[in-house]
C-alpha cells in the first residue's frame, strides 16, 4: 500500500503527460502481481467500495482527536481524507510484532468481502499501520475519490508501454479483462499469449481526423476522397453482439471508450443487429436535427426520466461500420465499409438510426461551396447542425488514433469576437513561468459609462512566439497582483485586444456576463486595435438569442 501511495502522491503533483507515464510504467515494472493489477484497477476506476463513506471517516477521527483541533485543521487543509491522514494519532503499538502495513491487494480483497459493521475497526487498524501518505491514499481509495489527474486511458497506455505494445491493443482486449489483470501483465511481459476478449460487445478504439489547412488541398486529389457532413453532436460507437447463449448485448460507448449505455436506454432496443456502428449521437425532433445546446440537456444525467426521453428523443446517425455480425471490417477500405454500412442500416430499418449522407463533389471548389451552404448542398433543414465537412480517403482502413492523411475535418468558420485581455494567470507544467491563461471581456454599459465584463477564459490557440509576446505584455502592464493572477491594464486606449474564436454560446447564470462560450481560443492578437473598439456584450446576446430559440422549440 505504501508503494502505491507513493505513486499516487507523485502523480498528483506531476503535470506532464510523459512524466506521468514514466512514473506509472516504472511502478508496473517494479511492483509484482497482484498489487500492480489492483493499482491499474484503481486508476481506471474499476474498483468501488460501497460501504466506505466520508461520514465514517469523520466518525473515526472524532473518536481519536480533539474536536476543536480537528475543526481548525480541517478548515486549514480543506480536504477530509488529507486532514485525517495528516493528523491521525497512531495508537501506541507494542515494539514487537507490529503488523506490517497492508498491501494494496490486502486492502482491496478485504474491502470486497468485509461487512459494513466490521469496516470501521478494519480501517482504524490500517490507519494505525500506514504512514501519512499511505493513510491519504487509503482514504482516497476507499471513498472512491482519487482525483489525481490520471485518465483511464493514460493508465492503460502506461501498462502497454511495459510490453512495448500499442495502447490500442490493450484497449481492444480491455473490456474482457478484470482485476488484478494477471493475464494482461503475463502477456505484456511476454510470458503468455494475448488474452482473448470474450466481451460480446467490446469497444473498438476510434479513428480520428486531422484539421485541414488551406495549404493541404494542393496535395490532395478530390477523386481519392468521400465527403460527409460533420455533425455537431457526440461521437459514439454503438455495438451489439451475441453472448454465449445467443442473446443480444448492446452497448453505447463514448469516443474514449466509456460505457454510456445507461444514459441512453431509449437507443438500446434499436441496436438489435450484431455489429459495430461509428456515428453521431443527435437529438431529432420531427425528423430535424437539433443544435448541440439541445443535445447537451441529455448529457451527464444520472437519472434519465421518461419526460427527458420524450422531450429529447435520441438518434444515431451512422457513418462507418467496424463490425458486421462476426466479421471485423476494420481492415477493409472505407469505400467498402461504407457500402456494408448502407446495407446494414437498410436491413436494420429503424427510425432511430439513419445514414449520414455523403456530399457529392468533383472539385475542391464544389466542396467549398457545399460547406459554405450545406442547406442547398443536401443537408436541407439540418444545415444548422452541420459544423463542417469530413473528408475520408476511399482506400483508408479503420486505423485507431489519428493517422496522417486519412481523415480530415474541415470545420465551418467559427464565431469570432474581439475581446480585451483583463486578467492573466500562470500556466502549469512547462508553462508555469508563463502567463498563459487569459480572461477576456467585452464592453457593456455600467453605472459610470462603459465597462468591461469578463466573458470567457482561453489558454490556447496562440503560437509559442505569440505566447512570449503576450507574456511580456502582461508583465509590463500589470496593475495588480492576486497570488498567481495578474490584473492587466484594460482601458479604452490601453490594453490588448484578442481575437477570440469559439464554437457556440450558452446562457450561464454562473458568469457575471450571463453567457458562456464553447471551446474559446485565441485566434489572433490585435495589437493594432485600441480596446475601445472591441466588441460589446450586445453582440453576444444577439448570437445567444438565435441559439436559444432552438432549445425551447
Amino acid at each position: 500500500m505504501n508503494r502505491f501511495a507513493e505513486l499516487l502522491d507523485r502523480l498528483a503533483y506531476e503535470p506532464g503527460r510523459n512524466n506521468k507515464l514514466r512514473l506509472l510504467t516504472g511502478y508496473f515494472r517494479e511492483v509484482g502481481d497482484p498489487d500492480r493489477g489492483y493499482a491499474l484497477a484503481a486508476l481506471t476506476g474499476a474498483l468501488s467500495f460501497k460501504h466506505a463513506k466520508p461520514a465514517l471517516v469523520r466518525d473515526l477521527i472524532s473518536s481519536r482527536t480533539d474536536e476543536v483541533l480537528f475543526g481548525l485543521s480541517y478548515d486549514y487543509v480543506g480536504d477530509l481524507s488529507e486532514t485525517v491522514a495528516l493528523m491521525w494519532p497512531k495508537a501506541e503499538l507494542t515494539a514487537h510484532n507490529n503488523p506490517p502495513p497492508p498491501t494494496l491487494t490486502e486492502v482491496v480483497t478485504t474491502l470486497r468481502t468485509l461487512g459494513k459493521t466490521e469496516l470501521p475497526k478494519q480501517l482504524e487498524r490500517w490507519l494505525d499501520e500506514l504512514d501519512e501518505t499511505g493513510r491519504w491514499a487509503l482514504l482516497k481509495l476507499v471513498t472512491g475519490a482519487l482525483r489525481i489527474g490520471i485518465s483511464a486511458r493514460l493508465a492503460k497506455t502506461a501498462a502497454a508501454a511495459l510490453g512495448d505494445k500499442d495502447p490500442h491493443e490493450v484497449e481492444l482486449i480491455w473490456p474482457g479483462l478484470s482485476p488484478p489483470y494477471l493475464d494482461l501483465f503475463a502477456w505484456l511481459e511476454g510470458r503468455a499469449d494475448k488474452p482473448v476478449n470474450r466481451d460480446p460487445a467490446p469497444f473498438r478504439p476510434v479513428m480520428l481526423a486531422h484539421a485541414i489547412e488551406d495549404g493541404d488541398f494542393a496535395a490532395l486529389d478530390p477523386a481519392d476522397y468521400i465527403a460527409e457532413w460533420k455533425w455537431d453532436g457526440i461521437r459514439v460507437q454503438a455495438v451489439a453482439g451475441r453472448d454465449e447463449h445467443g442473446h443480444i448485448t448492446a452497448r453505447l460507448y463514448s469516443r474514449t471508450g466509456e460505457d454510456i449505455t445507461g444514459s441512453f436506454p431509449d437507443l438500446v432496443p434499436s441496436l438489435r443487429l450484431p455489429g459495430a456502428i461509428d456515428g453521431e449521437l443527435l437529438i431529432l425532433r420531427e425528423g430535424r436535427v437539433q443544435s448541440f445546446n439541445v443535445l447537451q440537456q441529455r448529457l451527464n444525467r444520472k437519472v434519465v426520466s421518461p419526460k427527458l426521453i420524450k422531450e429529447f428523443p435520441i438518434h444515431l446517425r451512422a457513418y462507418d461500420l467496424l463490425g458486421d455480425d462476426e466479421n471485423d471490417l476494420r481492415e477493409l477500405p472505407f469505400a467498402e465499409r461504407r457500402e456494408r454500412l448502407e446495407s446494414f442500416i437498410a436491413k436494420l430499418g429503424d427510425p432511430r438510426i439513419d445514414l449520414s449522407p455523403t456530399v457529392p463533389f468533383a472539385s475542391w471548389e464544389a466542396l467549398t461551396a457545399a460547406r459554405a451552404d450545406p442547406a442547398s448542398a443536401g443537408a436541407g433543414e439540418d444545415a444548422d447542425a452541420v459544423e463542417g465537412v469530413m473528408l475520408k480517403r476511399r482506400d483508408a482502413p479503420y486505423l485507431p488514433g489519428r493517422p496522417k492523411g486519412q481523415w480530415w475535418k474541415w470545420k465551418r468558420d467559427p464565431h469570432i469576437i474581439d475581446a480585451v485581455l483583463m486578467y492573466a494567470q500562470r500556466g502549469h507544467g512547462k508553462r508555469s513561468s508563463y502567463y498563459s491563461d487569459y480572461t477576456f471581456g467585452v464592453w457593456t454599459a455600467g453605472a459610470d459609462g462603459d465597462e468591461l465584463v469578463p466573458v470567457g477564459k482561453a489558454y490556447f490557440g496562440f503560437t509559442d512566439e505569440e505566447l512570449l509576446q503576450i507574456d511580456r505584455f502582461v508583465r509590463r502592464n500589470t496593475t495588480e497582483k492576486f497570488g498567481p493572477v495578474r490584473h492587466v491594464v484594460h482601458e479604452g486606449d490601453k490594453g490588448l485586444v484578442l481575437e477570440v474564436a469559439f464554437e457556440g454560446l450558452q446562457r450561464s447564470p454562473r458568469h457575471k456576463s450571463g453567457v458562456a462560450m464553447r471551446f474559446p481560443r485565441i485566434s489572433r492578437l490585435r495589437w493594432d486595435k485600441p480596446p475601445r473598439e472591441a466588441d460589446r456584450l450586445e453582440t453576444l446576446e444577439r448570437m445567444l438569442k438565435e441559439e436559444a430559440a432552438e432549445i425551447e422549440a
Partner: protein
C-alpha cells in the same frame, strides 16, 4: 519583596516585545534604542536600531544584508552567556532554527521568561541543537501550530529528491529553499546522503552560503548557476529562493522539476497552489509534536503564543491545564517561510 507579574517584565508593544525593566525590545519591528535579537531572518532582525545585542552569527548576517552601518552599536553574546541589562538578566540559549539562532531567557527577580523566537527540536547539521530551558513563562511561535503538521525525518525527504534525480536524469531539479538556513541545511543533508556532485546556486544565495562555509560548515562543491549552459544542467540540482522557481529565470533549465523545501509542503493544496511538482517537507520550525513536547518539557505554567496558528496551540495548552494566551505581535512571519506561499510573492 513584591513578586513581579510576567507582564511587568515583558509586554507586547507596537515596536515588538518590550522589556521595560531591562530597557530593551526583543526582535523589534521598528527602530528602537536597544534591541535584543534572536536570529538573522529579516522579519526578526531589522536595521536602524541604536544598540543591538545578538550572537556573532546573527550580527554577521545583519551586516551581510544591511551593510556595515545597520545599527548604532553592536554587542556580541554567546550561548550560555549571561548579561545584565537594567533590572533584568538576559541569557542566550541555542534555538536550533538557523545558524546563530537563540532563545532569550529574561530573568527578573525570581521570574524567568523564555522568548524562543523561532525554534525547532529536529536535528540540523548546520546549527547548534535546540536547548531546553526550564522557565516560568514560555513564549512560543506557532508557525506550524496545527496537528496536521508533522514533519518527519528531513533525510527521507532528501532521499525523495535524489530518487527523482535518478528517475529523470535529463531534467534539471530546481529546489526552492529560503536563502538563510534552509538552503544550507538542504545542501548539508544532500552531502550526508552521499550526493557529491557539484550543487548549483541562484545568485541571491551565494553570499549567505559562503558565510556558512566560512563558519566551518562543510557544504562540498558549490557553483553559481549563472552562465552555465542549459544542456549542462541536465541531471543537476540547483537551489534557489522560492519566488525564483516560478519565474522567467527557470527558462534556463532543461525541463525543470520544481521542488520546494518547506514545512508548508505537508499540505497538498499549498504545494499545488504554487505549482510545486516535488514537495519536500523540510522545516526549520518545530512541528506540532515538537511544539507541544517542548511546551510541556519547559515546565512553564504559562504559555504565550505568537505568530502562526495561535488558536489551536492555545486550545491545546488550556486542555492540558496550562495558562495560555495568544500574544498579538504584528510584523512577524513576513520572512518567507512563515508567509502564505503565493500571496505577496516577490518577483523580479
Amino acid at each position: 519583596m513584591t513578586t513581579m507579574r510576567p507582564q511587568d517584565i515583558l509586554l507586547p508593544a507596537a515596536a515588538g516585545l518590550c522589556c521595560k525593566p531591562g530597557g530593551f525590545h526583543i526582535d523589534p519591528v521598528r527602530p528602537v534604542e536597544r534591541a535584543v535579537i534572536t536570529h538573522g531572518h529579516s522579519d526578526h532582525a531589522r536595521a536602524g536600531h541604536g544598540a543591538v545585542l545578538a550572537t556573532q552569527e546573527t550580527l554577521d548576517m545583519m551586516r551581510l544584508r544591511y551593510g556595515e552601518n545597520f545599527a548604532g552599536s553592536t554587542q556580541v553574546i554567546s550561548y550560555g552567556e549571561e548579561i545584565r541589562l537594567g533590572d533584568v538578566k538576559v541569557k542566550f540559549h541555542p534555538a536550533g532554527h538557523v545558524l546563530g539562532s537563540a532563545q532569550i531567557a529574561v530573568t527578573c527577580k525570581d521570574t524567568c521568561i523564555v522568548a524562543s523566537g523561532d525554534y525547532k527540536d529536529a536535528p540540523d547539521p548546520t546549527c547548534t541543537p535546540f536547548e531546553l530551558v526550564p522557565c516560568d513563562v514560555f513564549i512560543t511561535e506557532a508557525t506550524f501550530g496545527l496537528p496536521v503538521f508533522r514533519h518527519g525525518d528531513a533525510s527521507d525527504e532528501v532521499k525523495k529528491l535524489l530518487a527523482s534525480v535518478a528517475l529523470f536524469p535529463e531534467r534539471a531539479h530546481l529546489v526552492g529553499a529560503y536563502s538563510l538556513g534552509k538552503a544550507q541545511r538542504v545542501i548539508a543533508l544532500l552531502r550526508q546522503a552521499g550526493y557529491d556532485a557539484p550543487i548549483y546556486l541562484h545568485g541571491a544565495m551565494e553570499k549567505i552560503t559562503e558565510y556558512y562555509q566560512s563558519r566551518g560548515i562543510e557544504l562540498g562543491e558549490l557553483r553559481p548557476v549563472q552562465g552555465v549552459k542549459k544542456a549542462a544542467l541536465a541531471g543537476t540540482i540547483t537551489l534557489a529562493p522560492p519566488s525564483a522557481t516560478s519565474d522567467i529565470w527557470t527558462r534556463r533549465f532543461p525541463d525543470p522539476v520544481t521542488a520546494f523545501a518547506s514545512g508548508w509542503m505537508r499540505v497538498r493544496a499549498r504545494a499545488r497552489q504554487r505549482g510545486v511538482e516535488l514537495p519536500l517537507v523540510i522545516s526549520d520550525h518545530a512541528d506540532w509534536d515538537g511544539l507541544t513536547a517542548t511546551i510541556a518539557a519547559t515546565g512553564a505554567g504559562e504559555i504565550w503564543v505568537t505568530h502562526g496558528q495561535e488558536d489551536a496551540l492555545v486550545h491545546w495548552c488550556r486542555s492540558k491545564g496550562l495558562k495560555a494566551q495568544p500574544l498579538d505581535l504584528v510584523g512577524y512571519g513576513d520572512e518567507e517561510e512563515s508567509e502564505t506561499p503565493v500571496a505577496g510573492e516577490a518577483e523580479a
